[in-house]
Amino acid sequence: MTGKATTWTRAGGHLVLGGLGVLCAVPIYWLFATSLRRPQDVSSAALLPWPLSLQNYADAWAALDLPTLLGNTALMATAIAAGQLLIGLLAGYAFAAWDFRFSRALHLAFVATWLVPFQVTMLPNYVLLHQLGLLNTIAGVVLPQLCSALGVVLLRQHMLGFPRELLDAARMDGRGSWRILWTVVVPNLGPPLASLAVLLFINAWNEYFWPALVLQRSNAVLQLGLRSFMGAEGNDWGPMMATAGMACLPVLLLYLVLQRRVVDGFVRSGLK
């Protein structure tokens, strides 16, 4: 009796979860399915894209110079993630390893940036980039985003949980704080550091607002190249889906390979 009931509830669980999972994945599937159809089949509703064709990718390539866009996007995301990680490490270390005046106030200064929406600071930042001559450059996209409160707060949290015996031992050896950071703290921070790195990279890769503002004239990253396909009268769906596929593929591959790290990073962080 109970055995039967649990079988039924379990089947119900599978149905609810599986149904929702499929529903969530349909748009992603349809994105790639459409991009792989022959141009004359793009409007087809057949579930499987058959015969397969890469013509849409070739068309997108011809319109957009995809390799440059991919390279620029990868460069931008790597620079932003690396910068945020480095600055987060240094600041988190300062908060975790020393008890100093204004420590609480300065920590609050980082946390409080969450309450400042991008749209409130965009105009003065845009003007400053204009004065620095950095509009329409990748550097102009990277520079204002180099410090992430998320990175500082999370790394501080992790370092506070760090076993102090290790640090004491290192200090007995006569190592300075800089060497302790790189030879003791960082090597022992592996998994959370990796999760955070993946998360910051994905966020930077998918970033839209700021590149849209800074790179107005050049459309030099994938998200903007994709936007240039949209909105025009009579969308060219095939190449557009191919470009969208290229914009998602690296992150989705990263997710396939590093699923635990990615999920871990998002759970720890909250959503930016």
Partner: protein, 311 residues
């Protein structure tokens, strides 16, 4: 936003170092480590915030050659007199209400259902639900504009409807809510699942021993213990809903049709870079900044009062 939760958790400052060493090291070292981050914050967050505050009292059309004229509180007066302002606040509230099922109701149901499904299958389903979060907002917008295409789009074909989703006010609002919900659902499911895992199973077992049905246990034991997680998700939804939907509104509807999808942040964006009314945009920015700040404080206080703590 998780920081709001995390600061509340007491963490002994400087626990890394024993007292003696700490005192000796009351030097410039921590300030040096903090310097790069603080400089960046000052230049790219707090300076522009102050400038926006300043700009909200000026009239300026963004042209470097034309001077900015001080106008006192005029921008604020103009802002509150404009019908757009109140309408955009109401629409943002509607968006938040529309998203709450995606960030609270469905995640709780799904996470509860997931407990009945064995490990590997549950993880596979969660991986599927989570995937949309990783799709870049613009790519999400692209594929949804294709799915919602009136003639050849999959949605109209599957539902047998002929709606012109993004060109009519009601359907466009619904579309923005659903697409935003699609993006964030997996994240909420993950957070609720993590919250459920963190609940000590002894409580539910004790309730079962006392003769509680599974439904009663869920309602009176599990849900109260889950309330901090739900409070956190609710807070994030209220504060970030308009941010999450911003790239979708910008690429899919441009705030239209007839302003039906113009949220507070889109209005702000439009004042500054659409109508080049920098003063008005800055005034709107300050009002929304202060408004969301007050709401955040109120909600943090409220959840502190209402949530049940496992003790």
């Amino acid at each position: 936003m998780s920081a709001l939760v995390e600061v509340a958790r007491p963490a002994p400052p400087g626990a890394l170092l024993p007292q003696r060493v700490r005192r000796r090291r009351r030097t410039v070292a921590p300030y040096l480590y903090l310097a790069p981050g603080l400089v960046l914050l000052a230049v790219w967050v707090y300076r522009p915030l102050a400038q926006t505050a300043q700009l909200s009292f000026l009239s300026w059309n963004l042209l470097p050659t034309s001077p900015a004229v001080p106008v006192g509180w005029d921008n604020y007066a103009r802002l509150f007199a404009l019908p757009d302002f109140g309408a955009s606040v109401l629409r943002t509230l509607g968006l938040i209400a529309g998203l709450l099922p995606f960030t609270l109701l469905v995640p709780v149901l799904v996470a509860l259902a997931a407990r009945r499904v064995s490990g590997r299958a549950a993880r596979a389903y969660q991986a599927l639900v989570f995937a949309p979060l990783l799709v870049a907002p613009v790519a999400g917008a692209a594929v949804w504009s294709w799915l919602l295409e009136p003639r050849a789009g999959l949605v109209n074909r599957a539902l047998g409807t002929q709606a012109n989703w993004l060109q009519e006010p009601g359907p466009a609002q619904l579309a923005i809510v659903v697409i935003t919900g699609w993006h964030v659902l997996g994240f909420a499911v993950l957070i609720v699942s993590a919250g459920l895992t963190g609940i000590n199973a002894d409580y539910a077992d004790a309730a079962a021993v006392d003769g509680a049905t599974p439904g009663q246990t869920t309602r009176w034991v599990v849900l109260p213990l889950l309330s901090p997680t739900l409070g956190f998700l609710g807070l994030m939804t209220v504060l970030l809903a308009a941010q999450w939907s911003f790239p979708l509104v910008d690429t899919l509807t441009g705030g239209g049709p007839i302003d039906a999808t113009t949220t507070v942040y889109y209005l702000l964006w439009d004042y500054a870079f659409g109508s080049f009314d920098a003063g008005l945009g800055a005034a709107a920015g300050m009002v929304f900044f202060a408004g969301f700040g007050v709401v955040a404080l109120l909600l943090v206080g409220l959840t502190e009062r209402l949530v049940v703590h496992d003790s």
